[in-house]
């Protein structure tokens, strides 16, 4: 019997490190966050576009009113984090599959990481530092509770 020929791809050295576990958790996260996002986005769309006056109700006052409530702040924050990490994780898999040149792979992966973090930070800032009653604004455009402050 001659010896089996030298192995070629796919024979990357098998790592028993955290790598395998990381892949597994990324797979599980993708499924769990996907299910959660379906529920969150359905509620988001129903509250914004279906209930009340529907699409016509969306103006500064409506959005400001929602973002003044801690419930909607945390609801939107959860949706933001899940959507960005879910989408970023999916993009990472696409990059892993299709960007074969090492420099391209590294560039795209880092671009993806940076944009994900920047969008999460900006979104969180808006959610938690938003001023629903800006000074010197036309009171007719503001949510009703702003009158208490003026």
């Amino acid at each position: 019997m001659s010896q089996a020929p030298e192995l070629k791809a796919p024979n990357k050295a098998i790592s028993h490190s955290t790598l395998g576990r990381a892949r597994r958790w990324s797979w599980i996260f993708q499924r769990v966050s996907g299910a959660l996002l379906i529920a969150l986005i359905a509620i988001h769309l129903t509250v914004n576009l279906v209930r009340g006056d529907g699409i016509n109700q969306i103006d500064f006052a409506f959005v400001a009113g929602k973002l003044a409530s801690p419930f909607w702040q945390w609801f939107d924050f959860t949706m933001l984090i899940l959507a960005m990490v879910h989408g970023g994780n999916g993009m990472r898999m696409v990059i892993d599959d299709y960007a074969r040149k090492p420099w391209l792979h590294a560039t795209l992966t880092w671009a993806l990481r940076i944009t994900t973090v920047v969008i999460i930070v900006l979104g969180t800032l808006v959610l938690f530092t938003f001023d629903p009653c800006p000074a010197n604004a036309d009171p007719s455009l503001l949510p009703s509770f702003c009158e208490d402050f003026s």
């Binding site: 089996a4 020929p5 192995l7 070629k8 791809a9 796919p10 024979n11 990357k12 098998i14 790592s15 028993h16 790598l19 395998g20 576990r21 892949r23 597994r24 990324s26 797979w27 599980i28 892993d96 599959d97 299709y98 074969r100």
Partner: protein, 255 residues
């Protein structure tokens, strides 16, 4: 060879038809004034019976029209798994595909299976495919001394992995997998089927070694459940289900 080409007299009762085969050829040597490594489509027209398979048409071309056409086949009856090819954009065994089932009114497109390096015409280098299979250690692993009699197993334990014992290593599933096409680092559905056959065998004790290998970067987590493998399998193995069972075992730690 001529004996197979001659049909018995009553074969005239079977309706015959003219079939065009459009074959994607690859010429590594540069014959007939072609540049070495040329890839080109070539059309052949053959007279065939309604009972003929794609393999019969390929035989007719090779034996009667162009002896340089290269393809693999061994048993020619769907057992050895040598003649997997992409026929009308689907991976099938040429010996199990009837011409009449393929709409013979149009040219039948025959290509080598995708994702493996083509060596000549319909012959691909199967080595990366077999390397993946070797990597999951497709042999019985046990501890202790070997028993004097055969290792017994209940019918229920046998049924647990029955589906994946049917694999003939034809590579139709692996080369239909879009993830395998992209970077070639994925083990591919067949290696996972091969591992499944031992992981869920009550007599085998190497299940966690194999699961650890499949938990790797190139392992089961690359599967996107595209179901191409299940559709391509000429043996009817539910490949995607087998992959999901391996994922389940890794997630729960139970086999």
């Amino acid at each position: 060879m001529t004996a197979t080409a001659e049909k018995p007299a009553e074969a005239g009762a079977i309706p015959s038809m003219t079939v065009t085969l459009k074959i994607l050829r690859f010429d590594p040597d540069g014959l007939d004034g072609r540049e070495a490594g040329t890839e080109y489509w070539e059309e052949f027209t053959v007279e065939a019976h309604a009972t003929d398979r794609v393999l019969d048409a390929l035989h007719k071309i090779k034996w009667e029209q162009d002896g340089s056409l290269a393809f693999r086949r061994s048993c020619a009856h769907g057992v050895c798994g040598s003649d997997a090819m992409r026929i009308n954009a689907r991976n099938r065994l040429a010996c199990k595909t009837l011409l009449k089932d393929l709409n013979p009114a149009k040219p039948i497109m025959v290509e080598p299976i995708k994702g493996l390096p083509v060596e000549k015409d319909l012959i691909v280098d199967m080595e990366p495919f077999f390397a993946s299979y070797r990597e999951i250690m497709p042999f019985l692993m046990t501890t202790g001394t070997a028993p004097e009699r055969e290792r017994l197993q209940s019918p229920e334990d046998r049924a647990r992995f029955d589906d994946t014992t049917k694999c003939i290593l034809c590579a139709a599933c692996t080369t239909s997998c879009p993830v395998f096409w992209t970077d070639g680092q994925y083990f591919g559905p067949q290696a996972i089927v091969g591992a499944h056959r031992f992981i869920f065998d009550s007599r085998d004790e190497g299940e966690w070694d194999r699961l650890e290998i499949l938990n790797d970067k190139a392992g089961v987590w690359k599967c996107r459940t595209a179901f191409n493998c299940t559709e391509a399998c000429p043996r009817g193995i539910e490949v995607t289900k087998a992959i999901s069972e391996v994922k389940h075992a890794l997630n729960t730690g139970e086999i």
